[in-house]
Subunit: 579 residues, 2 copies
């Protein structure tokens, strides 16, 4: 990771690749790299789909090493969905491969004239940018199949489906998993639309001839990694719950807590939750010859994913995540896992964020386009409208906020244009603070207060009360910004929050790799540095404390069963960034 | 105008009317009343279509008097289109009638549950709110016909078409003209959607038994009014150009200046301009038995409107305004006045802002939905999509910004979500300052720099240069905020800017009416007071200096024939409100 490549897609005479040393970004990675670079180089008032925006693709600090859980890839840009800075990260193989080829970042700049579509091949030999109009409007699964015929199975693919080409604001960038399926997505914020605006359909990452990135102190690194893995295996969340049931273990948990937003946030419990639960899902997956325990990238020891086969035992999609099952399930009043799985497949194939798509469909149900509970209707909307780019399909594919505006729905669960995920902020106040204040628009991963509010990891803060929520969210947001820079999966947080020895092992891994002497304070400093860069960008894009608020209905409409509204005061929320 | 009526549409048990003395709003009117009340009473973070928003309807200070030009009605709210405070004013008879009944303001508050649709009857006997579901989804022309059968011709009607009921963000509120046609619209910012959100379909204003509002000093008022009218009649713009050709006299003028935005702001001149011009329009109107000189309300001495008949000599629409002819004409590459007139009729009938609708259709042309120049296609979009409330129709009816987002168009001419009117800010830099900085979102009427940049009224500031534009726009915005409060038509500005004796007559009218001793400075203070209230609301809604900018392409893409970009610096623009 000693160099940065810039690809000016709008250069005179065709795309031009230049290389530069990693320079000021040395020792950074992931979200630190993308956010600091975007904040420095992109005009915050630029059109997100214009030539002035950039798409920064960066592996994490430890990506490409032999360290466990280091497979997250960060993508950063100004978001067309939120208008804020955006970092969206995904698993899959891309981060490991890109890091091994030696890039701290690939930066897509400019915007080509004309209608040509491009693919980019990154390998030890350099970077090639080629026109390939045969890929036009292909969706991710057939697209990757076609590319595999040419580039084989020993590479990683980053692709956009038709949604990205159409520049829909919920468009994702797909990264292939170890089986070369386009199932791991940089989902949020429309990063796929930015890639589409630059007419880049696919990035082929080929690390043939390249080696694992070597730590500065290999023995220390190996030892720290072993302790780190031990820590993950012994923690009940990462050692038991996630491997057995995946993230969907949360359906029953959140429903029982009364925080499962049902039928567009009308209730906090869903009568069909058990049918959608991780327990039911795992049973079904195993029964049909899939698996309930599967890693999204090599080096994962949590294995929170799985394989979801259809009724005939044929592969349908990867195990849908909790937030996906919620967005396409309970949020829409749908209680059929097969419907949810097909929608998950369609999202992955067309290249869309499952959260914003599911929430948009629920909002469209609220507007009467189809009825709550109409699973076949939801599938039809995806296949006949979104996949075909009809006006209604484009509307839905631009996410919940615009869908709500155009269809005349008042109750639209978004912050800064991005759909709220699967946790109601009224009975779980901590996550509401994160939704409202994160630099990213509503995003549970930005400061996962569910851990402490509900799962009692990293302490215990009563989800129904106001006290302690701002501090909790602040600390989690800082820690997350740091973890998102390491290339490590956020799920390590449970173990490093609860087990001091695992946190130490995490630090030791970083120090052994880089020869540094980072402490817990260093991690906090890194997190603050990243958040400050993001916050600075957003301020220059016109965002203020008045944007750090939930939609009004969370303050005015109580929700059953707790019959609470969101009660953290504006004044308290405005303290989040006072550190 | 000694009282204010509040109608709580969301009251338990049905709408409830309460009355209060005019109180702190005494001596104010129009925009001063609406903006100061909205800024004081509405939560800037409220959902614009929710129960927390209010719709304030206020006649001007001199409305209902015998003074000339005093027929403007102001409507204020938080705008669903822009998210800012909004004042939208229209001619027609409503202001005069409402003022004579004695109301300084009618305030619609709350939001009813259920699907019932209401009409409100305001008369000397009080205010009645009645359910009338027979009006559902009626458009303005047939709606007013139906209401006339019940309420007759001696009243004024304020109505919303299907667009307002559907809460489309470009929905207007129509006010009837002296012939009881729904041709005068509070067009901008989606005020019709706010009325629709409160389920109010029609307001019937009946001043039977009421008298002209008496001035405190009748003789002085009569004398001042006579001098004021003389001044309007002798000024070349208000005495010659506007009466003869209407506002469309500008087509040739702006096209010759290279500031006529053509085919979605791709060029500053349109080869079809002559065919759309006011001169051609007036000739056609007269030939077909219409008229090129007609007032929108009794008491108008400028008579800038007209009657546009179809090929068979039957009434088609009122004379389309310059901005309408541009939005549906040159902006879309359409050079056929009959097409433009039909689109104008459709806008009036469905109840839509002609500027945001025309610009949205042009943006949709840019996206390839139909081709530039396809007049029949534009009519079809209005009749088959917008009028029927299809997803595409709702999209277009939500205006240019959302249309551009959903259809993937980068070049979308909006500020704060509202479409730019018919003057390109690159060759006419002064109007760009107004577009960017007004509290209303892009709005030419907020500070009509065209007057001084092009028409050389109120001085002479070179439109191609940066110098003097901020000061010009500031002074015009202040003056406009004051004029918009008097109930007078903005077109009086030409005469009062150029003729000191006419400005004095204007002051004398106010002073004779109210027994005040207002000076030029008082008018400036009133304007500043109104702007400050608006700006304060917007700041609390999250608007910053970063929102006081034009879309990026005006800074980066020069336009022929002057091949200039917009060059007023951010620092200069940020001085606009430093007074």
């Amino acid at each position: 990771m000693e160099k940065i490549a810039r690809i000016d897609m709008g250069a005179q005479g065709g795309p031009r690749v230049t290389f530069e040393p990693v320079g000021e970004y040395a020792g950074l990675g992931g979200r630190a790299t993308t956010s600091i670079m975007i904040a420095k180089e992109v005009n915050p008032l630029a059109h997100a789909l214009g030539a002035e925006n950039k798409l920064v693709i960066a592996p994490g600090m430890l990506s490409g090493s032999a360290g466990a859980m280091t497979g997250r890839l960060s993508v950063g840009c100004k978001s067309p969905l939120t208008g804020t800075i955006k970092e969206s990260n995904a698993g899959g193989q891309a981060a490991q491969v890109l890091a091994r080829i030696g890039y701290a970042a690939i930066v897509l700049e400019g915007k080509p004239e004309g209608d040509d579509l491009y693919k980019i091949i990154v390998s030890a030999e350099g970077i090639k940018v080629e026109v390939d109009n045969s890929l036009k409007l292909m969706d991710n699964y057939p697209l990757v199949e076609k590319l595999r015929a040419q580039y084989g199975d020993k590479v990683a693919y980053m692709t956009i489906g038709s949604a990205g080409e159409r520049m829909l604001y919920a468009a994702s960038i797909a990264c292939t998993d170890p089986e070369l399926r386009p199932t791991r997505h940089c989902g949020r914020g429309g990063v796929g639309a930015v890639m589409g605006s630059k007419k880049v359909k696919a990035i082929i990452l080929d690390d043939a001839g390249m080696k694992m990135r070597p730590p500065k102190y290999p023995d220390k690194f190996r030892d720290a990694n072993r302790k780190f893995v031990e820590g993950l295996r012994k923690h009940p969340v990462t050692g038991e719950g996630l491997p057995a049931y995946g993230t969907n273990v949360l359906t029953n948990v959140i429903n029982e807590a009364g925080g499962y937003p049902t039928r567009n946030f009308r209730s906090g419990t869903f009568e069909g939750a058990a049918k959608l639960s991780g327990e039911a899902q795992a049973e079904l997956e195993i029964k049909r010859g899939g698996t309930a325990t599967h890693g999204c990238h090599r080096g994962c020891v949590i294995q929170c994913s799985g394989i979801y086969n259809d009724k005939n035992g044929n592969y349908l999609t990867k195990q849908p995540e909790y937030e996906t099952v919620w967005a396409h399930g309970g949020h829409c009043g749908i209680d059929d896992l097969d419907v949810v799985a097909e929608l998950d497949f369609l999202d992955d194939n067309i290249g869309l964020d499952t959260i914003d798509m599911g929430v948009a469909i629920g909002v469209a149900m609220d507007a009467g386009i189809i009825k709550f509970g109409d699973g076949e209707g939801a599938i039809r909307l995806m296949k006949e409208e979104v996949a075909k780019g009809t006006p209604l399909g484009r509307l839905l594919g631009c996410g919940a906020e615009i869908t709500g505006k155009v269809l005349g729905v008042e109750k639209v669960p978004v912050v800064k244009g991005q759909a709220l995920p699967a946790y109601d902020p009224r009975p779980i106040q901590g996550i509401g603070v994160t939704y409202a204040t994160t630099t990213m628009g509503a995003d549970h991963t930005a400061g996962y207060a569910i851990a402490t509010n509900i799962l009692k990891s990293g302490g215990d803060v009563d989800p129904l009360k106001v006290e302690g929520q701002v501090e909790l969210s602040r600390n989690l947001q800082i820690a997350t910004a740091a973890i998102d820079s390491t290339g490590m999966c956020l799920f390590i947080a449970f173990a490093i929050l609860d087990q001091p020895e695992t946190f130490q092992a995490f630090l030791d891994m970083l120090n052994a790799f880089y020869g540094t002497e980072l402490t817990g304070d260093s991690v906090v400093e890194l997190g603050k540095k990243v958040l400050s860069a993001e916050r600075d960008f957003n301020a220059r894009a016109g965002f203020t404390k008045y944007h750090d608020r939930l939609p009004r209905f969370f303050y005015t409409d109580p929700i059953a069963p707790h019959n609470q509204v969101f009660s953290v005061s504006d004044e308290e929320m405005d303290q989040l960034y006072n550190w």
